[in-house]
Subunit: 325 residues, 4 copies
Amino acid sequence: MIKVSIAGGTGYTAGELLRILLNHPEVEIDSVISSTSVGLPIAETHRDLLGETELRFVETFNNPDVIFLCLGHGLSRAFLDGNTIPPSCKIIDLGNDFRNDPQYAGRHFVFGLCELNKDKIRRASNIANPGCFATSIMLALLPLAALNKLTEDIHIHAITGSTGAGKKPGETTHFSYRDNNISVYKAFTHQHLDEIKRTLEAAGSKKLPPINFVPMRGDFTRGIFASVYTKWDGDAVSLEETVEHYKTFYRESPFVFVSDKAISLKEVVNTNKGLLHIEFHNGYIHITSIIDNLLKGASGQAVQNMNLMFGLDETTGLKLKASAF
Amino acid sequence: MIKVSIAGGTGYTAGELLRILLNHPEVEIDSVISSTSVGLPIAETHRDLLGETELRFVETFNNPDVIFLCLGHGLSRAFLDGNTIPPSCKIIDLGNDFRNDPQYAGRHFVFGLCELNKDKIRRASNIANPGCFATSIMLALLPLAALNKLTEDIHIHAITGSTGAGKKPGETTHFSYRDNNISVYKAFTHQHLDEIKRTLEAAGSKKLPPINFVPMRGDFTRGIFASVYTKWDGDAVSLEETVEHYKTFYRESPFVFVSDKAISLKEVVNTNKGLLHIEFHNGYIHITSIIDNLLKGASGQAVQNMNLMFGLDETTGLKLKASAF
Amino acid sequence: MIKVSIAGGTGYTAGELLRILLNHPEVEIDSVISSTSVGLPIAETHRDLLGETELRFVETFNNPDVIFLCLGHGLSRAFLDGNTIPPSCKIIDLGNDFRNDPQYAGRHFVFGLCELNKDKIRRASNIANPGCFATSIMLALLPLAALNKLTEDIHIHAITGSTGAGKKPGETTHFSYRDNNISVYKAFTHQHLDEIKRTLEAAGSKKLPPINFVPMRGDFTRGIFASVYTKWDGDAVSLEETVEHYKTFYRESPFVFVSDKAISLKEVVNTNKGLLHIEFHNGYIHITSIIDNLLKGASGQAVQNMNLMFGLDETTGLKLKASAF
Amino acid sequence: MIKVSIAGGTGYTAGELLRILLNHPEVEIDSVISSTSVGLPIAETHRDLLGETELRFVETFNNPDVIFLCLGHGLSRAFLDGNTIPPSCKIIDLGNDFRNDPQYAGRHFVFGLCELNKDKIRRASNIANPGCFATSIMLALLPLAALNKLTEDIHIHAITGSTGAGKKPGETTHFSYRDNNISVYKAFTHQHLDEIKRTLEAAGSKKLPPINFVPMRGDFTRGIFASVYTKWDGDAVSLEETVEHYKTFYRESPFVFVSDKAISLKEVVNTNKGLLHIEFHNGYIHITSIIDNLLKGASGQAVQNMNLMFGLDETTGLKLKASAF
């Protein structure tokens, strides 16, 4: 059994990790750490866990094989500074501290996009888990990057659910504001652009064109819907060949599928899947890409990384029932 | 023209007042007071007012004929203590400070339920505007109270939109919590019970039975749907006679209507109307009652009171287009 | 392995069954029957199943150990009339044909409320799976019925998600109507009242009082929130004793829990759990009860019944990750 | 008073017209025509109108000054074929029959985009009212077209509310499907592209570049949020100059405003306004544009056209209270 510790145990991604790990056949919980709720039952914070665990938040870890850091962006370094983690203990960071800056405290963080770095992840001791927007966009573009076929401006609109903004309530997550509302934020400047670019280059894109990314706030709780297009020579590579290339590219990826029909977000909500659909129009290739931001975009992918790191089947504990509605 | 001042100008009820008053043919704005936003454009807080007003928040009133207090419960007394309001200036309080305790600072506050106290309101200088839950429930029960026919336990479930909880974000108004969720709060103990009881007695109920009221938080922004029933002798007074009695009771009330068909909340959203539907079952009379909590349940009713106090037609400025969808 | 057939395979409850059964360790699919979609991939109808099954709809069953009937109310009898089902094949009917009328075609249908009839279900060959509203309400009242303490009028409001209305689109499931809306339907006359009464009597209620039940349509997709109260002598049985009685009553029920804190619907959505919360007010006991209408209220409970009928652990395949948001 | 007839009286745009026109100070209703509901009260179909009108649907018009055609796309020609409309009676068509094909039955239909064709509309007898997506997109681009500055690919994503799909229920407007869901449809091929192109050319664009338009279905009822960008030489024309140009361009347009801050959809819902926000990024000008699809995108704009055609102030009857929440 893998002994797991979770730091930052009261947040959304920690809750989602617990929902997965309490049913994971190869995991036992070492500790769920919270600086604010020590001693309180976990099920009082993550209310859906009532009846499923008697665990309480603790101050620090015992003897874990792996620690998941669910601390909020920028706080993972401080955690490593303030805690003496045994070198044998692996780390999976769900924040953005090590995605673009993989060296810290004597540890090297592998970028945990399983669909690109599976072998490295299997050998890794430390993982920088990808961002949610980044994951949905990279899944759309990786097969093109691998062909080094990204040559002209990439155009992206992607809409995220409210859980992407975390637990702390604020103006744009107030129900009275958000319900039946839509807005744009950080247009063309979202912080995930860096990890997207680095990853596409790592995948084989030699001279990456500009990426134009407009993130939007959706009036739903879970999921990311990304719509991506870039110039494509459909005469050189036909739609059939392109779809086939995508399917081949993701052949070893048990959670990523190409749909022949148009897709809608709820087809992946509450699962660890990524779903893609491809069309050609106006000389562009248009890819729609959907994931659950808390699962494939965060905690699900983190467990997928853990499975790989510990030599388990990648899908262990991750065959989740879609909510579908 | 009536010169209007609004205290507590940044909150939801103040915004809703402004949406009405900027189009009200007999009103000019004296001042919109805010302790936190002095000097800032009103349309930066109430964003839908962009293009409709250049007004800015100010520190205090100039020379108003009436002040609307939109301060939050318990803060109206402090405002009267801290400000010297000319005796000629009328006051309409949207908080709950004076609903059950109508005497303060030498002023007497008339309970502003237009459907019961129209004549008193016409002569009033100070109004305690009714609560939103209370309004929806009183409209359902007033005609029965007037017959002194409320004799056995009254059973009420009422669901409110999120705007009833105000602008300050919190756990139960977080979109990630509230979306697609339902919950009960303050079951049997809601603070509006007092004003409901006092009003039903004032309407003619001699010996009021227990009122059992379960408030619920709905996953919508605007409106209250109340479902109310109590024992009723359908042999003594038939459904037809009862409906006729309701229609007669509300004959002079331009915003309250009895529907012969079952009702759904959005039939009144973004209007100042109250809609009722009556059925008999199991020896009970069952009344469903719907209002928009921010309009008939707050700012709309406040303007209705103002219209009456200043001798205008009750509906002036309040013929609002329903949003319907 | 249990060979399972599903009749009525394109509807919501069939889809939900498939979501569970495809991951159930003791099940293999014998056939998914549809009169309208023979030959088409199941994942084209239940789109979230893309990548999880290559199955196609078929015209009839092969050699199943159990058939789930997901046919819509009133159509199960016709299915039994029109198909020769081997006597050894068990039947679990998700419709309402046999709930109050358990004898048909030489088969006896046990009412499949696992929390009441576990032993009978273990020995049963045919199950009438309970209704969704009925399940949420029975879970709230069973422990009181068992004490024969239901003596005065029972008052119930319960709000259902839109999936309770099934797949066929109509006026009250149109998004433009339902979004941000609330309405009452079949007040005091809902068809589940019969099975509720029969079950409470079976549980021990000797002289059942009137049950007043107001069903409501909620603007969410999944779940039922029931608010139930009836007179209770809190001096005779204290809150602590009552809560303890509930917990004892449900000791052997792995999916039903009593929460010491107020509950909200999403704590059970996408799980097979039932959650209860109890308070005393005004001489009443007030019970809130929540389930997922498609799981504990339909397909989840159906699988729970199957598990019991086939001697499996009751929870097999039903430890589902809550969607939580 | 203008005598108004509405054909196709039971649909969404007809209902919205009635909500406006019943409060319009210069209008009286000549007739509300429906082939399916003759004799029934209008308020039974448009339920929010209860208490506001006793009108009933009729079979044909009496003696109107203007007829609004709310018939659904493709049915307006048939209506003109089947009815003898006096030449003096004006026509405003809310369908798409005459937007790109303005000559029919001896009548010439002016494209009713008030922000471009105000003078022509004032003199027009027949109006082809613009489409909803088209309106939101044209408002974003008209000032650039007027400068003949549209030279490189235009990139558009726009999300629409469910009311854009009309009253007839279907799979993608089923609440169980649409709630908390997002999807793309008619990517790059939406039928509004024609009227957009024609209009931008009419506004001054000499050599229109390709327009790439991805429409999306949003999980809200009202409104369109359009995000539009195209290459822009920010060194040649600064952001300040560009914003100033937009403000100047819309100086005579009482419903269109440029916001200096980022915008969110609900700022215009239930109003006839169009709101724009402009930013520069990556060598692109990025414009977000919002309207209410049923008002500025349909019935509100239709009344605006009527006001112009009859010499009234453009805003008469259209100063609507935003719903805001």
